[in-house]
């Protein structure tokens, strides 16, 4: 299946892109996104503990099963206000 991954703030700087498409095996968990991108961008893994995942604009947990066409965002610590 194909999903779209979006990056912001620190995660965008680490990856060097706003977003990218990613192919994953069917039934993959949200955590697989960080694992796979971590192979290409090892610095992402250093941030792993403080990155929150969102699927289709909702915060989620690592075990969430992804579906074709999902939008997954890697949300670094927020600092609005």
């Amino acid at each position: 299946m194909k999903i779209q991954v979006r990056f912001f703030s620190v995660t965008r700087d680490l990856v060097g892109a706003d977003e990218r498409a990613l192919a994953l095996p069917d039934g993959s968990k949200a955590s697989a996104v960080l694992e796979i991108l971590g192979l290409e961008f090892p610095l992402l893994l250093e941030w792993k503990q403080s990155i929150r995942l969102a699927v289709n604009m909702e915060y989620t947990h690592d075990e969430r099963i992804l579906n074709e066409g999902d939008e997954v965002a890697l949300i670094p610590p927020v600092s609005g206000g």
């Binding site: 979006r6 912001f8 703030s9 250093e46 503990q49 403080s50 929150r52 909702e58 609005g80």
Partner: protein
């Protein structure tokens, strides 16, 4: 009311937005950009958002506030892009029949916004360095800050 703007926030407009004949109190929180962070002089701040999700999250926390307190009006306006030091980056206005509800809801809204809503601030320092700000309030469930 939820809005993102890329120029100076019209604070009076936000206050008027939440006004109603039934409200006896309007509480306004204005977050402004500060010129010092961790002892270093800041010259400029720049905000970015995951806008679609941020708008959804803000609507959600506004609904939580409305479910907790009896409010007449509530609005959150956040500025994005470059914000010079001393200007408003966020304005929250809440109106209610009495001040207690307005004060409590306003405080709740800014606290939730700062910990949950996907907005980020980049700080430009006088020494030429640039850093993404890191809030201590961001503690994802089941994770700890490294």
């Amino acid at each position: 009311m939820v809005e993102f703007v890329r120029s100076e926030i019209d604070i009076l407009m936000v206050v008027k937005e939440v006004g109603s004949p039934a409200s006896g109190a309007t509480d306004v929180f204005i977050g402004t950009t500060r010129d010092v962070q961790n002892g270093k002089r800041v010259t400029l701040l720049e905000y970015e958002a995951y806008e679609s999700m941020a708008a959804k999250e803000i609507k959600s926390i506004l609904n939580e506030a409305r479910a907790t307190w009896r409010l007449e009006g509530a609005a959150i306006i956040h500025r994005l892009g470059k914000v010079p030091v001393g200007e408003a980056s966020v304005v929250i206005a809440v109106s209610a029949a009495h001040r207690k509800e307005a004060f409590e809801a306003c405080r709740y809204l800014i606290d939730r916004l700062k910990s949950e809503v996907p907005i980020w601030k980049k700080e430009y320092f006088a020494d030429g360095s640039v850093e993404w700000s890191r809030s201590d309030e961001f503690l994802p469930s089941g994770r700890t800050l490294s």
